[in-house]
C-alpha cells in the first residue's frame, strides 16, 4: 500500500455477465493482462440468483438458467486464465484510471489501469423512491431481494403476496413465490402497459391465474411491525389515484418491481458524464465514456431485458478497451451526435466519435410508449438509410438497429437521427 501501485492493462469493475463477456473478448482481442474485480464471493453477478430458464437463446441457441449461462462464461474465463479478485469492492476510480479497491484478503489496493471497463450492473428502485404513503413494516421487499432470499437462502419472505410493478423480476417472482407455496394475489402496474417482457406475462402470470392490474398502484401500506394489508387504486392518465377505486388487499408481503437504476456512483466520482434518460454513461460507438480509456457495458450503461444482449455489448466494450490499450488515445475528431426523437427515448451509443468508422454500429434503444405498426427509421443527416416496420414496440423491450459502416463512411454525416414513423 501507500507508495506501491500495481499496473494492469485492463481492469474490469464487476464480474457479472457484462464483466465476464468483456474479459473474454478483451483476451481474445489479444490483451492478456486483464483483471476482474468482483465484490461478491463468486463470479456471475445477479445471474446466480436467476434460477429460472430462458437465458442464452441468442448466444447459445438453447434455454439455460441464469447460473448455467454464467457458468459458460466463467468456464471461458477460467480456461483463458483471466485473473479475478473476489470479495473485492471498488471504492474509487480516478480520472487517470487509478482504481482503489478493498477486500478482506488484501485490504486497500490501488491499481493503475490502462483501460477500465465499468460493468457494475444496476440496482432496484426502492419503495422510498416512490414515496408510497403508509407504514414502514417488515415484509416490503424489492423483487430482487426476495429472489435472493428464496433462491439463494431458501427462505420464504411471506405467504400472502401483492406485487407492485410489472418489471421482469416481479413477474418472475410472482411465479417463483407461487412455486414455493406462497399465494400471489395480483400484480399492480401504474402504467397502462407492462414494463416486462410479453413472454414473462404469459408464463409467470397468465399460466398461474395471477391478475395483472394495469393503471393501478399501491396508495397505502398497513401494519406497524409486519405488512398487514395494502390498498390498491386505479390511476388516471396523469397517474394520480382515482378516488373511489381503492380496494384493500390483506397480505403479509409487498414485493416491488418498479424499475432498475444503473449503479453509477463510481462513474460519477470518476467524472464520467451520465445520461439523464438512461442514468448510465454517455458513450460513443466504442462504448467509451467521456473519460478517455473508461468504457461501459451491460446494465450499468443502460438496463437490458436479455442477458444475451448484455454479453454482445460487453464483448464490444472488451474489444474496444483492448484496442485502446494497444493503440492509445485517438486524435480528437468531429463528434457525430445521434438524435433520438419521435418515440425513441435514447440510443446507446449516444454519439459517434467520428474517427475511422470502420465497423457497423449497433444502436440499442427503447421507446417511450406502446406503438403499433411503426417504422424504425434512421437518417444520416436528411437521408433515410433504414426504414424497418415493427408490428409493436413497447418500453419493456429493448430494440436495436444497425448502421452499416460503408454508409457512414460514404456519407460522413454530421447528425444521425433515430425515430419512429407512421409510414
Amino acid at each position: 500500500m501507500g507508495n506501491s501501485i500495481e499496473k494492469r492493462a485492463i481492469v474490469i469493475v464487476g464480474g457479472g455477465p457484462a464483466g465476464l463477456a468483456a474479459a473474454v473478448a478483451a483476451h481474445e482481442a489479444g490483451e492478456r493482462d486483464v483483471l476482474i474485480l468482483e465484490r461478491d464471493t463468486q463470479l456471475g453477478g445477479i445471474l446466480n440468483q436467476c434460477i429460472h430458464n430462458g437465458f442464452g437463446l441468442h448466444t447459445f441457441h438453447e434455454e439455460l438458467t441464469g447460473p448455467e449461462y454464467a457458468a459458460r462464461y466463467v468456464a471461458q474465463v477460467d480456461e483463458l486464465g483471466i485473473e479475478r479478485r473476489l470479495g473485492t469492492m471498488v471504492l474509487d476510480i480516478s480520472e487517470d484510471r487509478v482504481v482503489t479497491a478493498v477486500s478482506a484478503t488484501d485490504g486497500i489496493t490501488r491499481i493503475q489501469a490502462g483501460a477500465v471497463i465499468l460493468a457494475m450492473g444496476c440496482r432496484e428502485r426502492p419503495r422510498g423512491a416512490l414515496a408510497i404513503p403508509g407504514y414502514r413494516p417488515a415484509g416490503i421487499y424489492s423483487a430482487g431481494t426476495a429472489q435472493r432470499l428464496v433462491n439463494i437462502e431458501g427462505q420464504l419472505p411471506g405467504r400472502e403476496v401483492v406485487i407492485l410493478g410489472s418489471g421482469d423480476i416481479g413477474l418472475i417472482m410472482a411465479r417463483r413465490m407461487t412455486f414455493e407455496g406462497a399465494h400471489v394475489q395480483c400484480v399492480a402496474e401504474i402504467m397502462p402497459y407492462s414494463g416486462g417482457l410479453k413472454r414473462n406475462i404469459v408464463q409467470c402470470l397468465d399460466d398461474f391465474g395471477i391478475p395483472l392490474l394495469l393503471s393501478h398502484t399501491v396508495v397505502d401500506i398497513e401494519g406497524r411491525d409486519r405488512v398487514e394489508a395494502v390498498t390498491i387504486a386505479e390511476v388516471d392518465e396523469r397517474m394520480k389515484p382515482i378516488p373511489g377505486t381503492e380496494r384493500r388487499y390483506p397480505c403479509d408481503t409487498l414485493l416491488l418491481s418498479v424499475g432498475l437504476l444503473p449503479e453509477n456512483e463510481l462513474s460519477r466520482e470518476a467524472g464520467v458524464e451520465l445520461s439523464g434518460v438512461t442514468r448510465g454513461p454517455v458513450v460513443n460507438e466504442r462504448l467509451e465514456t467521456s473519460v478517455p480509456g473508461v468504457f461501459a457495458c451491460g446494465n450499468v450503461l443502460h438496463v437490458h431485458d436479455l442477458v444475451d444482449f448484455v454479453s454482445q455489448e460487453a464483448a464490444a466494450a472488451g474489444r474496444s478497451a483492448a484496442a485502446y490499450v494497444a493503440r492509445g488515445e485517438d486524435a480528437a475528431a468531429q463528434r457525430v451526435d445521434i438524435v433520438a426523437t419521435d418515440g425513441v427515448r435514447y440510443t446507446v451509443p449516444a454519439y459517434l466519435s467520428g474517427s475511422d468508422l470502420d465497423q457497423d454500429v449497433t444502436l440499442r434503444f427503447r421507446v417511450g410508449g406502446v406503438f403499433r405498426d411503426r417504422y424504425v427509421s434512421v437518417y444520416l443527416d436528411d437521408e433515410r438509410v433504414r426504414h424497418a416496420k415493427k408490428r409493436i414496440l413497447t418500453p419493456g423491450e429493448m430494440e436495436q438497429v444497425v448502421i452499416k459502416a460503408d454508409q457512414l463512411r460514404e456519407r460522413a454525416p454530421h447528425t444521425v437521427t433515430v425515430k419512429l414513423e407512421e409510414e
Binding site: 432496484e124 422510498g128 407504514y135 417488515a138 424489492s142 431481494t145 432470499l149 427462505q155 401500506i221
Partner: protein, 495 residues
C-alpha cells in the same frame, strides 16, 4: 425483591441521557423499554437538528435547556463519539412584511443567551446558500445551530450508561406504577420491579405513566403531533449547506431543508395532531404539503432523489414547555415529559437536570473520582476516513475489508461490532441505527440478506427469528415449500 435506586421508563434520548448522568452516582439504575432497542420512538424519527435556542419563550424551561443542551451537545460529541456537525442555521424571511418577525426572533434569541446571532441580508444569504429562494430577503444566522446523528447520540448515551453500570431491560412495556411502602413498584407483563425512584421518560405515553401516580387535578395530556419527512439521496446532500428554516409568514410555517450527518438532505416536517399514538404512517396529504412547502425557502429541491419518507410523533402538550420535576404527591417520581422540539438538542441538559433532581431527592453520592468513565468509543466511519487509515483497520481486522452495505460503506466488522456491544443490536433496524447500513439509495435491497446472515451467525439465531425491529416484525415467514403439502403424506392420508 431486588431494590433499584432508580428505574427510568423509556430508552429514548431523554431516558438514556438521564441514565447516563445517573451513572455518575453511586446508584443501581435500570432503564425499562417496551421496544427491542434504544431510540425507537420520537428519538429516531425527527429532524435531527441541534437547535441554537432562539425559538423558545425567554424564561421557559425549553429556552434554558435548549441553549444549555446545544453547548453540551458539541462537548459530549467529543467524549461519546457520535456524529454532530455545527453547520449553522438560517431562518429565512421571504417577505418584507414579516421582517419584524426576524428582528423579534433575534431579540428572543439574545434574551435566551444564544451566542453570535445576527441578521444577514439577501446578498450575503445568497453567498452562503446559493439555492435559496428568489423571494428570500434576509435571514437570521445562528452559527451554533447544527445537525446530529439522533440514533448515534442515543446509542452512545446508552452504551456509556451500561459501561458505567446501568442496566437495560428491553421488550418490556410498563403497565402499572404504584406505591409500595417507601418504594415504587413498576409492573411489566414480565416482571414487577421495585425501586426507590422513577423517572417517567415515556415519550408520547408519558401522560399515561404520569396519570398512574398523579393526583386527579394534576392529570397530564400528551398529544401525538405527527411530522412527515422526505429523505433524499446523498447526491442531493449539498443542495443546502446549512439548516434552512422559514420564518412563519402569511404563507404558513414552512418546512426545514437541511443536510444530515449522513450526507443526505432532509425535508420536513408537517405538524398534525393525531389520536393514534402509533400512527407513524406517512400520508398523501402530508407528503404533498412537504413537497410544496420546501420551495418557499429553497429553489429546485431535487425531490426525485428521494430514497425514503417517514413520519415521527412529537410528544406535544398544550403548555408547550418541557414538564420536568417531581410529581406532586408522588415522592421520588419524576416526570421527564412533553419533550418535544427542541427536545433532542436539550437532551444532554435534560439528562443533567433530571439526574440532579433524582440524586438530590434520594441523596445519591457521586461515584469516587475516576470510577465514572465519560468516554465511549465510536464506530468506524468508512465514509470519512482516508484509504490509508482504512487499510490500517483492515490489518487489525480483515472484516473491515468486507463491504456489506455498498451504498453507505458499512463493513462486516462494524456490524459484528454493533452486535457485541451492550446494549447490542438484535435486529435489522438496530444495526441500521448504529451503522447506517440499509439507509442508502438501495434501502437495504442488497444488504438485508447479508445482515440477516451475520445476525444469525453472531447470535446463533434462526433466520425466521430475525426481525426488522423486534417481535412481530420477522423478516421471513418460513422456508421454501414448507406450506406445500407433502405428496407422500397426501396419498396415505386423504381419500
Amino acid at each position: 425483591m431486588d431494590l433499584y435506586d432508580v428505574i427510568v421508563i423509556g430508552a429514548g434520548v431523554s431516558g438514556c441521557a438521564v441514565a447516563r448522568e445517573l451513572a455518575r452516582r453511586d446508584a443501581r439504575v435500570l432503564v425499562v423499554e417496551r421496544a427491542d432497542d434504544v431510540c425507537c420512538g420520537t428519538s429516531k424519527a425527527n429532524s435531527a437538528i441541534v437547535h441554537a435556542g432562539f425559538d423558545a419563550q425567554p424564561g421557559s424551561l425549553m429556552a434554558k435547556l435548549n441553549v444549555e443542551g446545544n453547548r453540551l451537545m458539541y462537548e459530549w460529541a467529543q467524549e461519546l463519539n457520535f456524529g454532530v456537525i455545527p453547520v449553522g442555521s438560517l431562518v429565512v424571511c421571504v417577505s418584507e412584511d414579516t421582517r419584524d418577525g426576524l428582528t423579534a426572533l433575534l431579540e428572543r434569541g439574545r434574551a435566551n443567551g444564544v451566542p453570535d446571532l445576527r441578521i444577514i441580508e439577501r446578498d450575503e444569504l445568497v453567498q452562503m446558500e446559493p439555492n435559496i429562494a428568489d423571494e428570500a430577503v434576509a435571514a437570521l444566522w445562528a452559527p451554533t445551530g447544527g445537525i446530529v446523528d439522533c440514533f448515534g447520540l442515543t446509542i452512545a448515551l446508552a452504551e456509556n450508561a451500561v459501561a458505567n453500570g446501568v442496566e437495560f431491560a428491553f421488550n418490556q412495556q410498563v403497565v402499572d406504577v404504584r406505591r409500595d411502602g417507601d418504594a415504587w413498584l413498576v409492573v411489566t407483563p414480565q416482571a414487577t420491579l421495585r425501586t426507590r425512584a422513577v423517572v417517567n421518560a415515556a415519550g408520547v405515553y408519558a401522560d399515561d405513566i404520569h396519570n398512574l401516580v398523579a393526583q386527579p387535578d394534576d392529570a397530564l395530556r400528551i398529544v401525538a403531533r405527527k411530522g412527515e419527512y422526505y429523505l433524499l439521496d446523498t447526491t442531493a446532500g449539498a443542495h443546502v449547506r446549512h439548516t434552512v428554516f422559514m420564518l412563519p409568514s402569511a404563507m404558513g410555517k414552512g418546512v426545514l431543508v437541511s443536510p444530515t450527518v449522513h450526507g443526505n438532505l432532509i425535508v420536513g416536517p408537517t405538524a398534525l395532531d393525531v389520536d393514534d399514538k402509533e400512527a407513524t404512517n406517512t400520508t398523501p396529504d402530508g407528503l404533498a404539503q412537504v413537497a410544496s412547502k420546501c420551495s418557499l425557502t429553497v429553489k429546485d429541491v431535487p425531490l426525485r432523489e428521494v430514497i425514503t419518507t417517514f413520519a415521527g410523533l412529537r410528544a406535544h402538550q398544550d403548555a408547550h414547555d418541557f414538564r420536568i420535576g417531581e410529581v406532586a404527591g408522588a415522592p421520588h417520581f419524576y416526570d421527564c415529559a412533553a419533550i418535544e422540539s427542541p427536545g433532542l438538542t436539550s437532551a444532554p441538559a435534560i439528562g443533567v437536570m433530571v439526574a440532579g433532581l433524582v440524586a438530590d431527592g434520594l441523596g445519591l453520592a457521586d461515584k469516587p473520582a475516576g470510577a465514572f468513565d465519560p468516554t465511549r468509543p465510536g464506530y468506524a466511519n468508512l465514509n470519512i476516513i482516508d484509504f490509508d487509515a482504512w487499510g490500517r483497520l483492515c490489518e487489525q481486522d480483515p472484516a473491515y475489508g468486507n463491504i456489506i452495505c455498498r451504498c453507505c460503506r458499512v463493513s462486516e466488522a462494524q456490524i459484528v461490532d454493533t452486535i457485541h456491544r451492550n446494549p447490542g443490536a438484535r435486529s435489522l433496524d438496530a444495526v441500521k441505527r448504529r451503522t447506517g447500513a440499509t439507509m442508502g439509495r438501495c434501502q437495504g435491497g442488497f444488504c438485508t440478506p447479508k445482515i440477516m446472515e451475520i445476525l444469525e451467525r453472531e447470535l446463533g439465531m434462526d433466520a425466521r427469528e430475525i426481525t426488522k425491529r423486534g417481535p412481530g416484525s420477522e423478516l421471513v415467514l418460513g422456508l421454501n415449500k414448507d406450506a406445500v403439502a407433502d405428496p407422500s403424506a397426501k396419498e396415505g392420508g386423504e381419500a
